[in-house]
Amino acid sequence: MKICYFHLMPYRFLPGNFENDFRSVWVDVPDSLQDRGKVAGLYHEFLDELEHAERMGFDGLCVNEHHQNAYGLMPSPNLMAAALSRRTSRAALVVLGNSLALYNPPVRVAEEFAMLDLLSNGRLVAGFPVGTSMDTNFAYGVNPATLRERYHEAHDLVMQAWTRPDMFSFNGKYTQLRYVNLWPRPLQRPHPPVWIPGGGSLETWEWTAQRDYVYCYLSYYGYKRGKATMDGFWQTIETLGADDNPFRAGFLQLVCVSETDAQAERDYFEHVHYFYQRCLHVWEGFAEAPGYRTLKTLQAGVRPQVGDLGRKIRQSLDWRKYVDEGYVIAGSPATVREQLTDCIRTLRVGHLMVLLQIGSMPRELAMKNTELFGKEVLPHLRDLWPGYEDRWWPQGAVDPAANGPGAAATAAKAGPAPVAGPRGTAR
């Protein structure tokens, strides 16, 4: 079992009346709401939290890409991963990821990921999301009707740039390059493991499974509602005749650990509420451009997690509902252990990603949540899924299962090692 620490890097200082007085947290959120001095501080705070997570024994550190929003301050997750590459030495750097259709030419992604893989001594996981409609269609102006085709073409180009031995020409519909010849190339061969974050689109399951990539469902609505989506993925795997190795799957879950169940509510409620009410406050007109979803996915009833529908679900939420409906797994270490074990088994996920800094949660509280999780929860999940090989873990990152029990804890105690040569050189 691998447990990764996901950070969204939210702006923590939206005003109390935000969701009533302002239209959207994404696309047209006004500049007047951002305190630039505070943002500068937040980057260091958030990087501190990610570095702390490695010391607390987390296997991977996840960052991702969003544009023109106060939900997540990472237009370029690659910059954050680059900063982490120098201050961590053991954890996988899971960049989830670069929205391929936004880069022109997309070899830029192949280049930057190669640099990150080299900088981190082969610890990179390469994530390729399509990207939300807010990011791709509205903030970056990509045509929704051709977004997915553009994404697929860019993916093919990046994979060829990483793996073809000689210089080649690429005559695509969206990118034409006469000379493709990547310098430098990634350290990991044939290329860094690829994880595909999805929001529930049907065709992503099949596309991901056919290429033997990891499918990650990034849901804000918890493991109980996530089950239908993960069942759909596993059904696709079965139909294609692939094995049911749980490491094919990843899942994001919000988690709050405290001394007791009651203390968890006192510690975390306002920050969880901030996340659901303000960070997800996306105007209906930006939630999903016509054409962003395929007809097949629309007919299956998949709707956006934000916008009008999401607002209706979220409006009535109090702590009990957040917890009872599984949006957040919260409580004492024992409570969290039990529910997370259920989550992992129910969804059959080998790569669990947890969000521990949530919404407006300040540094000390995020550190507390991280430390309690690392010491009281994580070791108890470690041995789930014995006997399965994680073929999707970066070669340069420490693999606790491969190195025997306790390897991760030993590495954590030793503290950040000086930058060494590539480890896990099985290639």
Binding site: N137, F138, G141, N143, P144, A145, T146, K173, W283, E284, G285, F286, A289, P290, G291, R293, L295, L298, Q299, D308
Partner: protein
């Protein structure tokens, strides 16, 4: 490519091109025109039975598809009439294939852009915001009827999916800004051109009429009371203006 075309009426031929928000495929304005013309009203590729939008990359591809459609309908040339996106495509066709257009009537067409006079985002606005910019009076009967979706769950979902498909199919050619080079090509239009505009059009402000009139050689502007959906708000007046413009006055020199 496969077009589905609604046809009706008697008299000289006329091609009508729809826009994003035409839920009614044969609205009263076409009924009025059908009294004077043989109206051909194709659905855009990707909309309600017209197929092949995935084979078209841009407005030039789409305009050439309409050129081929006119050939298939055995119309060497005809008056081209369109509203908003339909107006933009009528103008593109008249610019790329000037011999196809004997006359051109553009009702609040898209196709030009001024950064300081942005048009409403007609492809993505949610229903309530959309109603406010489409109609001079969103509470009028025609506006309310337009805004009403079927009540039964199944029909309602089908209507919403149809709408997403319709907007996606046309939005493909205007995303994210509906200026795809018409300004560079408009000088090629040789047909006499009427620009019909609602004076209270807040979706596509009337200032664009002057921009079109400056770009198209033989253009005149006619402003009428009404909003962006002028053809639905004032079908009698719009049909009358079109017919008057396209029919040479007896004994007159024409245009």
């Amino acid at each position: 490519m496969r077009f589905r075309v609604l046809e009706g009426g008697r008299g000289p031929d006329l091609l009508w091109l729809h826009s994003f928000h035409d839920r009614d495929a044969w609205p009263p304005v076409l009924e009025r025109l059908a009294a004077r013309f043989t109206v051909h009203a194709p659905f855009h590729p990707g909309v309600r039975g017209s197929e092949g939008v995935e084979h078209l990359d841009d407005v030039v591809d789409l305009a050439l598809a309409y050129d081929e459609l006119l050939g298939a309908l055995e119309l060497a040339a005809a008056p081209l009439v369109g509203h908003a996106f339909g107006g933009m495509m009528a103008a593109e066709l008249a610019a790329l294939c000037p011999h196809r257009a004997t006359g051109l009537v553009l009702i609040s067409p898209l196709g030009m852009w001024m950064d300081d006079k942005p048009q409403a985002d007609l492809v993505t606005l949610p229903p309530r915001d959309l109603a406010r910019v489409l109609w001079k009076d969103p509470e009028s009967e025609v506006a309310r009827r337009w805004a009403t979706l079927p009540e039964s769950e199944a029909e309602n979902v089908a209507a919403q999916i149809e709408q997403i498909q319709r907007l996606s199919a046309m939005g493909k050619f205007v995303w994210p800004i509906p200026d795809k080079g018409l300004g560079r090509r408009a000088h090629r239009v040789s047909a006499p051109t009427l620009l019909l505009w609602g004076e209270e059009d807040t979706a596509n402000p009337v200032v664009y009429a002057e921009r079109f009139a400056a770009a198209i050689p033989r253009a005149t502007v006619e402003r009428r009371p009404g909003g962006h959906m002028l053809h639905l708000e004032a079908p009698d007046a719009v049909a009358e203006s079109i017919a008057r413009f396209l029919t040479p006055a007896p004994g007159g020199a024409g245009r």
